[in-house]
């Protein structure tokens, strides 16, 4: 979407390595949410941040509302991490990034 620029659009990682996904916002956002699409097509909540950082297992997310960006770091990637990841803002209207397609290879 125009208000949320998500990158990269596609990412390939070898097992055990890591990388970061990023979302840039064109306007100030109140909060950011990161999702992953599961095998049923539903969007599962990974993180909700109004500021700072949160960590959950091998995932860590950061949100800088002043600089208008958020990141999702994946470390020690596993095969089951493959999927599509989305960020979205949480303002009065919801704006999604277009997604990052992650493929983790052996």
């Amino acid at each position: 979407g125009d208000q949320v620029e998500q990158s990269p659009s596609a990412l390939s990682l070898h097992e055990g390595t890591g990388s970061a996904l990023r979302c840039n916002f064109t306007t100030t956002m109140r909060a950011v949410q990161w999702f992953r699409k599961n095998s049923r097509g539903s969007l599962i909540n990974l993180f909700y941040l109004a500021s700072g950082t949160k960590e959950n297992g091998r995932l860590k997310s950061a949100f800088d509302s002043k600089e208008r960006y958020s990141t999702l770091h994946i470390r020690d990637a596993q095969l089951e991490d493959s999927g599509t990841y989305f960020c979205a803002n949480s303002n009065n209207r919801i704006f999604f990034g277009d997604g990052t397609q992650l493929v983790v290879k052996p």
Binding site: G1, D2, S9, Q33, F35, K37, S39, R40, G41, S42, L43, I44, N45, Y48, S82, G83, T84, F86, A88, R93, I94, F95, F96, D98, G99, T100, Q101, L102, V103
Partner: protein, 116 residues
């Protein structure tokens, strides 16, 4: 602005009434998804179409919702008899493919349904 257009932005219905929302997917995208936001701020998959055909749908959608994507007309999702628990944000998304789990999606801004 999103290239996936959802209308109306807000929808208020009484219990038992029909509630219909529409979605125009991004041009050239044959696949349309509908989602319902839950209390955990997650988006539950409801149904998806490829052109005019239903690809997948969950049980709830099959029983209480009707959805279609006619050619040359907006896609629609209609709750046949609204219940209080249907109050939620409904999102539409489109993509080039609907069956590959890694597919990127392009989202609308949603229709916020309130059932009184």
């Amino acid at each position: 602005n999103s290239k996936v257009i959802q209308t109306p932005r807000y929808l208020v219905k009484g219990q038992g009434q029909k509630a219909k929302m529409r979605c125009i997917p991004e041009k050239g995208h044959p696949v349309v998804f509908w989602y319902q936001q839950n209390k955990n701020n997650e988006f539950k998959f409801l149904i998806n179409f490829q052109n005019q055909e239903v690809l997948q749908q969950i049980d709830m959608t099959e029983k209480r919702f009707s959805a279609e994507c006619p050619s040359n007309s907006p896609c629609s999702l209609e709750i046949q008899s609204s219940e209080a628990g249907d109050s939620a944000l409904y999102l539409c998304a489109s993509s080039l493919r609907g069956t590959v789990s890694n597919e990127r999606l392009f989202f609308g801004h949603g229709t916020k349904l309130s059932v009184l």
